[in-house]
């Protein structure tokens, strides 16, 4: 692929890669480092990229691997949600009552960001790649290097945990606002 065209196409992804990096690192300075490192690696191996194939998936794969390498190099503890035990753990949370869930869509962005950040890392990444980036299950499996079944399990559990967290947060608003009445429930 023409280097100038590769560079242009790759750099067009900087906003999306930064957003994903921010979700992975939960820290702006680390996210910037991660994205720069990702581009450095991408340019170094740009000869391996085949024009016409999925550049976005390729860049996100580099981002994912670079993140794992950086964390390993920095000696942080491994992620809990990657362990087999967590993958196999029973998913027995109770869903919330109806009036509170109606407030879900009114959740402030800050709450959504906080709730996403509160997810275990593997779930957070899977939900982000699926629902924000809209990658296919196969693409996510390729990016994260896990089987498709694991991808779907992570998405599912991540979404449910996100929902629980948001309902808890919006439940606070509901109690404050007395928003559990039926008229509101019917309106939404």
């Amino acid at each position: 692929m023409d280097p100038a065209a590769f560079e242009q196409d790759a750099l067009a992804l900087v906003d999306r890669l930064f957003a994903a990096a921010l979700r992975l690192t939960r820290n702006e300075a680390d996210a910037q480092d991660l994205v720069q490192d990702t581009y450095l690696r991408a340019f170094r191996s740009s000869g391996q990229f085949e024009a016409g194939t999925n550049l976005r998936g390729w860049m996100f794969t580099i981002l994912h691997n670079t993140f794992l390498n950086q964390r390993r190099d920095r000696g942080r503890s491994p992620i809990d949600a990657d362990s087999e035990a967590v993958e196999q753990a029973p998913d027995d949370r109770q869903a919330a009552a109806n009036p509170e869930e109606l407030l879900l869509r009114e959740t402030m962005d800050a709450d959504l960001q906080a709730a996403l950040n509160g997810l275990p890392e593997a779930y957070r990444e899977a939900v982000w790649l699926r629902d924000v980036e809209q990658f296919s299950y196969e693409e996510i499996a390729g990016i994260a290097g896990v089987p498709i079944g694991t991808v779907m399990s992570r998405i599912s559990r991540g979404r449910r945990a996100l929902y629980d967290d948001l309902v808890t947060r919006s439940g606070d608003y509901a109690r404050r606002a007395g928003a559990g009445d039926e008229s509101r429930a019917r309106r939404v």
């Binding site: 280097p3 560079e7 242009q8 750099l11 900087v14 906003d15 999306r16 890669l17 930064f18 957003a19 702006e28 910037q32 994205v35 720069q36 581009y39 450095l40 340019f43 170094r44 740009s46 998913d91 109770q94 869903a95 919330a96 869930e101 879900l104 869509r105 959740t107 962005d109 959504l112 960001q113 996403l116 939900v127 699926r130 629902d131 924000v132 809209q134 299950y137 079944g149 779907m152 399990s153 998405i155 599912s156 979404r159 449910r160 996100l162 929902y163 629980d164 948001l166």
Partner: protein, 253 residues
């Protein structure tokens, strides 16, 4: 009836509308009978919908300058592939300037721009000055003729570089094209000892309403030469700014 475990594995593709019709029917049938799975599916659909709706907001924008720093990693990755002349046609961060300008189009017969406030322009030029020096300076120096020819050939910017700055100790160390408004701005990078000096050449017809502006610890001095507005920008005392403007061809009042 399917077990809850069987159905659990199908919930995500059903929520994503990607399940086969038979699987969808199995799940929907189970959900009618099982309140627990129904709640789980509801949670998954609600969270999915919320994130989908907020996706654009969640992505947002990368910090100013990150794109330029990422672009600069290309040089680190393959130093041999980098052209010696740091004249780049990349559009990018200067585009943000357009949003900071208040434009008044004056005159019915001639296309003319009056840029106001000048401080906003000077602030953007200062940011470009800082970034370009950190990324694109050629410490060995460049030939004015080479830069002039490259600006014309690559970007269609037809300007005559001032002939006199060398005598005043100003060395040409870079040249770029930045995209401003609906035209191209030539950005020439000079060194005078430790001082970094930028010379911007605005598109034909664009003017600054103020000729002397101090912003972000830098001073900008604008003058007209050859029908265009030129802006000298540096962190330097006012008298030195005037002297440099003269060296670049400004005519004293």
């Amino acid at each position: 009836m399917d077990s809850c475990r069987d159905i659990d594995a199908l919930m995500t593709p059903v929520a994503d509308n990607e399940a086969a019709a038979a699987d969808r029917a199995r799940v929907e049938g189970h959900l009618r009978e099982c309140a627990s799975c129904h709640r789980q599916m509801h949670a998954e659909r609600e969270a999915r919908q919320l994130v989908l709706e907020r996706a654009a907001t969640l992505v947002g924008h990368a910090p100013l300058g990150l794109r330029a720093r990422c672009a600069a990693t290309r040089a680190q990755a393959a130093p041999a592939a980098r052209p010696r002349l740091p004249l780049l046609s990349r559009a990018g961060w200067p585009m943000a300037l357009a949003a900071t300008l208040v434009l008044a189009v004056a005159g019915a017969a001639f296309y003319s721009l009056v840029i106001n406030p000048s401080k906003a322009v000077a602030a953007q030029l200062t940011l470009d000055h800082l970034k370009c020096f950190s990324l694109f300076e050629e410490p060995a120096g460049l030939s004015p003729a080479e830069v002039q020819a490259a600006l014309k050939a690559r970007h269609g910017i037809d300007i005559v570089l001032p002939a006199g700055p060398e005598a005043s100790g100003l060395t040409l160390v870079g040249g770029r094209r930045c995209l401003y408004l609906d035209g191209s701005v030539a950005h020439l990078l000079y060194r005078k000892g430790a001082t970094r000096v930028s010379l911007f050449v605005l598109p034909t017809g664009a003017k600054l309403s103020q000729t002397d502006v101090d912003v972000l610890g830098h001073s900008a001095v604008a003058f007209t030469r050859g029908g265009r507005t030129w802006v000298v920008l540096a962190r330097a005392p006012h008298a030195e700014m005037k002297a440099m403007a003269s060296a670049f061809g400004a005519v004293a009042n």
